[in-house]
């Protein structure tokens, strides 16, 4: 169990589309890798080795720097039994921990229900970007979803103070939860009520923030800067969620994937630097995940949907290093005859984070007992 003085915070970064783990942490000395990736293999001389078999993609230099400082746990071969190659279902399974049925509750939503059972703080969970991920959803759990932190606020366009006050009072009354209107109307009422409350709270954030870190101007940097701004405002947010899209690299992967991975690495580096400068990094752990890894053999231009992949757990309190086994590339060890397998169930990683970091009972949240890793310092 990691001992820290402040309440632990979890930041989840979702790489949407299926990040190519093999070109992120590259098995650079493996002949099968180079044979399978005729068009896409990262050249051995370009890689940034982390041991004699694995190396970072060169664009992930900032992540390597964090790794070398001991702040990055690489979870190799993460996945689950009978992995679903559909984006839709794949992501849904990661969000809900339910591989066989469709449910509406997400694992982080259930975690927040434990952290804040009465939904007293509407910013216990904050999601940045368009749309609320199912992972953050659970009945009765208020989650604040922010598309633009700088203009967030209900009816902020009504200039006349008195008119706006009247309008907000009526808004509050219209969105008062009532009985017997049906599920969707209940949800809407609760959402309107929460929007008012969270707007009040978050309106103070932009004015309170100063930093010497210059984030890059790309979506993931903007999102992680917003996470930093809200975290540094000390509003009691315990779970942050953000998404980085575009990883579905079926084609022109050499043009697309390095850019995304480079943006991501730099953004993560800047984010932790920003927190460290404000003495607010120790209580933060980040999970970076994606819905599946990609096919071992490239298709000439990109890679098709695969199975096993990789995830990262990052933070000052993390015991950096390699966790799990890098999935075998030998043909008799493959899933579907062509994909990397898995040896760490994603629910093991969730359980680890929930129990060892957030001090929550993981069993009801991930729907079962899973072996845990030990990625935190004592």
């Amino acid at each position: 169990m990691a001992i820290i003085s402040k309440s632990p915070v979890l930041v989840v970064v979702q790489l949407s589309g299926g990040n190519d783990f093999m070109n992120t942490v590259v098995p650079f000395t493996n002949g099968i890798y180079h044979d399978s990736r005729k068009s896409l293999a990262v050249r051995e001389e370009d890689t940034l080795p982390l041991n004699d078999q694995l190396a970072w993609n060169p664009v992930a230099a900032p992540l390597k720097e964090l790794y070398d400082k001991g702040n990055v746990a690489i979870v190799q071969g993460i996945g689950y039994e009978n992995q679903n190659r559909s984006h839709f279902r794949g992501m849904d399974i990661w969000h809900t921990c339910e591989p066989d049925k469709i449910v509406t509750q997400g694992w982080l939503g259930k975690a927040m229900k434990e952290i804040d059972p009465n939904g007293e703080n509407v910013v216990t969970g904050v999601s940045f970007g368009q749309g609320l991920p199912r992972a953050m959803v659970a009945p009765g759990v208020p989650v604040t979803s922010v598309s633009d932190l700088d203009t967030f606020g209900v009816m902020s366009g009504i200039g006349a103070r008195e008119q706006r006050d009247t309008a907000l009072k009526i808004f509050e009354r219209m969105y008062t939860p009532a009985i017997g209107l049906g599920v969707v109307s209940d949800y809407l009422a609760q959402t309107g009520t929460n929007a008012l409350a969270s707007a009040d709270i978050l309106s103070t954030v932009p004015g309170n923030y100063t930093s010497t870190v210059e984030y890059a101007s790309n979506p993931i940097s903007k999102s992680l800067r917003d996470v930093a701004r809200v975290h540094l405002s000390g509003l009691g947010t315990r779970v942050f969620y953000t998404q980085h899209g575009g990883y579905d690299t079926h084609a022109t992967q050499l043009a697309v994937h390095p850019r995304l991975l480079g943006d991501l690495s730099r953004a993560i580096m800047d984010f932790f630097q920003d927190l460290r400068d404000h003495n607010a990094s120790e209580e933060v752990v980040m999970l970076v995940f994606t819905e599946f890894g990609r096919r071992i053999k490239d298709n000439g231009s990109g890679t098709d949907h695969g199975s096993g992949g990789g995830a990262f757990i990052i933070g000052d309190r993390v015991k950096g290093g390699l966790y799990g086994q890098y999935p075998s590339l030998e043909s008799d060890q493959l899933v579907n005859g062509e994909d990397l397998g898995y040896n760490v169930d994603f629910r093991s990683v969730y359980s680890t984070l929930l129990e060892q970091w957030m001090s929550l009972d993981p069993i009801p949240i991930v729907n079962g007992r899973y072996d845990q890793l030990n990625p935190f310092m004592d």
Partner: protein
């Protein structure tokens, strides 16, 4: 013409189009409901939308270098096309066949796809899937341009079945591989450089030398199958009839669970989906036939205010009530930014899986964006739609009670139906305003401003989130 007729026509136009002003509803009401439906189903009875104004005031739409202008221009067309269902069905196919600008960052290939959807939107499923398979944006978006005889790429083959026609659970991984082979060589021409002729969409191209002419087995049928055969076989599948029927129900009638749940969760109204599915199968996928049955069914007529508006519905519907942007304004491009902040950038789907709909459109962030857009859009008394509402209320003057004040606003904006909580909340304002009084310039101005404030409150209500 009864109040009930107006309400039903208003419902039809919100769903089959993007709403209607009171003047438009009154003109529709000279016909029977079934005749209005036939007019909608036969857009060729009406002139095409004139793009002249858009071209003149939004020149980026001619050069094709601004996605935001292209998005906004499409929204104007939704609002003001004389063929509302044509635009609605174009949006339907865009919703089902979600694809986007963000992969290739080329606007003309996106608008070209929308034109294709518009042209074939009410034809038959066979034609639609073939046109889709040849569409250059789709060819690039799902990498069929990288699907080669000697190196098949499965992306399009998987998604045409999973997302575009049958849904998961109705085919095997092997069917995907075989379909991929059948679509080898279906590619597109190179884009010509932007200069000196401007930006144009590439075109579909079949490369026989890159096509796999070998024997394939797909969903039980064996032969030298090509893309046409794959589409033929797909359209015959009962799963396709059911999948499209459910999409139509979800899009036009009432919100269903998200698409991936469809092979697990039964439809909310099984008999309605059965009826649409049966019509689809019997008509060999004739969309006009299915829509005719849908719009004339009681399950449709009774589904008022049961569906969460998509961001585009909310924005275009609000524009229609206010009567704004008939001629493009400098602010017209802002309509694109508005729907994007609400989670729906037209021609720019977030991923191949498209958009999550229903109540998933709404969270605390997007609800804030929706309310703010709508209240801001109702802020200007000079807007033609607001002027019309004021004039109609004034004609019942000179003295209007608080109750009538509220009821008139709700009536002229829809009619919009609200529940007791919302009514009592809005009555707080109506009572505070003390009703309306018309007469001299000062009282007219005062009453107009009160109407404007009431419209702003109505568009921020929970009920306004529903279509």
């Amino acid at each position: 013409m009864t109040e009930k007729d107006l309400s039903l026509i208003s419902h039809l136009m919100r769903r089959a189009g993007f709403g209607a002003s009171r003047e438009e509803i009154e003109s529709y009401a000279s016909k029977d409901y079934e005749e209005i439906v036939e007019d909608l189903l036969n857009p060729e009875r009406f002139p095409e939308y004139d793009t002249d104004m858009v071209s003149r005031y939004m020149q980026g739409t001619l050069v094709g270098d601004s996605l935001a202008e292209a998005q906004a221009a499409w929204m104007l067309r939704m609002a003001y096309s004389p063929r509302p269902l044509e635009e609605r069905m174009t949006l339907f196919w865009h919703h089902v066949f979600a694809s986007g600008w963000n992969k290739h960052e080329h606007v003309p290939v996106c608008t070209n796809q929308i034109e294709t959807f518009r042209k074939y939107c009410m034809s038959d499923m066979q034609t639609i899937l073939i046109e889709l398979s040849k569409d250059p944006l789709m060819v690039g978006w799902l990498d069929n341009s990288e699907n080669h005889r000697d190196a098949p790429n499965e992306n399009y083959a998987r998604e045409i079945m999973e997302l575009f026609s049958m849904g998961v659970g109705n085919y095997s991984e092997n069917d995907i591989k075989e379909a991929a082979r059948a679509f080898t060589g279906w590619t597109m021409t190179q884009c010509i450089p932007l200069y000196p002729f401007g930006s144009y969409s590439p075109r579909f191209k079949f490369r026989a030398d890159d096509h796999d002419y070998g024997e394939k087995t797909f969903l039980g049928e064996t032969g030298n199958l090509d893309g046409y055969d794959i589409v033929d076989i797909i359209v015959k599948q009962p799963a396709t009839a059911r999948f499209i029927a459910r999409h139509l129900y979800n899009f036009f009638v009432a919100d269903e669970p998200q698409v991936p749940a469809w092979n697990i969760q039964p439809p909310g109204d099984p008999s309605a989906v059965d009826l649409l599915s049966k019509t689809f199968a019997e008509s060999k996928g004739d969309l006009r036939e299915v829509l005719r049955v849908l719009f004339n069914a009681d399950f449709f007529k009774n589904a008022r205010f049961k569906k969460i508006k998509s961001p585009v519905d909310l924005v275009v519907g609000t524009v229609k009530i206010a009567g704004t942007h008939k001629i493009p304004q400098p602010s017209t491009e802002g309509l694109a930014a508005a729907t994007k902040l609400m989670g729906q950038a037209l021609m720019d789907a977030p991923t191949v899986e498209g958009w999550h709909t229903g109540h998933e459109w709404v969270d605390s962030g997007t609800l804030t964006e929706r309310v703010n857009f709508a209240t801001n859009h109702m802020a200007n008394i000079a807007s033609p739609g607001i002027q019309d509402i004021i004039a109609r209320i004034k004609s019942n003057g000179p003295n209007i009670s608080p109750e009538v004040f509220l009821d008139s606003c709700l009536d002229l904006m829809g009619p919009i139906e609200i529940d007791e909580t919302t009514r009592s909340s809005l009555m707080v304002f109506a009572n505070q305003a003390g009703g309306l009084m018309f007469g001299d310039g000062e009282s007219d101005a005062d009453s107009s401003d009160k109407i404007r404030q009431m419209l702003q409150l109505v568009v921020s209500s929970p009920e306004y989130q529903f279509a």
